[in-house]
């Protein structure tokens, strides 16, 4: 249970960064940390005691496997995380070229 709690704390650290930091790069770091804690949580859910990695070998027909379903889902989510991060970085580059700062308090033309 402590592992789940530490995972939750890692998520909260990322959430704190997203809510309180004013730098765009720091906000992106907070988002990445939240993502990684969720991947960790999914991998923890699928773990089975003394299980082996879900790869079938000839001699071990009756071996106990780790659950392959959360791993497949996390594999998809990791790649999507890369796509969103690169999109965020592209927006950060554009904002820096236009306003010459990463400070979201000075990027004030976004109304509404």
């Amino acid at each position: 249970m402590t592992v789940y709690l530490l995972c939750f704390v890692l998520f909260l650290v990322g959430l704190f960064g997203v809510l309180t930091k004013r730098n765009i790069i720091k906000i992106a770091i907070g988002l990445i940390i939240m993502e990684l804690s969720l991947f960790m949580f999914f991998a923890l859910i699928g773990y089975v005691d003394n299980g082996i990695a879900p790869i079938i070998v000839q001699e071990m027909e009756k071996a106990k496997f780790v659950d392959p379903l959360p791993q497949a889902i996390v594999l998809t989510a990791i790649v999507i995380g890369l796509a969103t991060t690169s999109m965020l970085m592209a927006i950060a580059i554009r904002l820096y070229k236009k306003y010459n700062t990463f400070d979201i308090r000075k990027i004030a033309n976004l109304k509404g």
């Binding site: 650290v13 773990y47 082996i52 790869i55 496997f65």
Partner: protein, 188 residues
Amino acid sequence: MEIILSIILVFMILGAIYALYARDLLSALISCGIVGYGLVICFLLLQAPDLAIVQIVVETITLLIMIAVVLDSSREELKEKKVVGTKLSHFRKWYVMNVILVIVCLVVLLYFFKEVTSTLDPLGKHLTRMSTAYIENAAEKTGSANLVTGVLFDFRGYDTLGEATILFTAVIGVLAILRAKGKKTNNL
């Protein structure tokens, strides 16, 4: 097993906190890499080699992209405004209020965390409900020795198709955002 995972997770949390408070954005990104590569070790301990491989590659690419962005622009963290002496009493007035709010939020979050995790199995006692069929039949149905790729590309092939769509959309979005100039209308 649980103790080793806890130690690595504490290390990751420390790295995350330093990443949020570093003055230099470059060192913030490097300590963000602590979190990612610590996750790789956790995946290896949790018997997920596919995830470890993908996470190493993706973490490296993410760090490279972000370091390129930071080196191309400013490395300094923003300067915080100094609290003026007259505002100090105003700050004191809200001090008690802030502490009470933080404690209330923490209690609510921990309560819901306890509620949610009470429905989960404890670590290592997981029962493979739905994926039992995957484990038993994957070898005959998909012909793949690796069950994760069997699930990813055969049983849940449409998920992978959606993932490819998202990647493609992200590439189009990055190209559209970073395009240097719009098309000139009079040069057509």
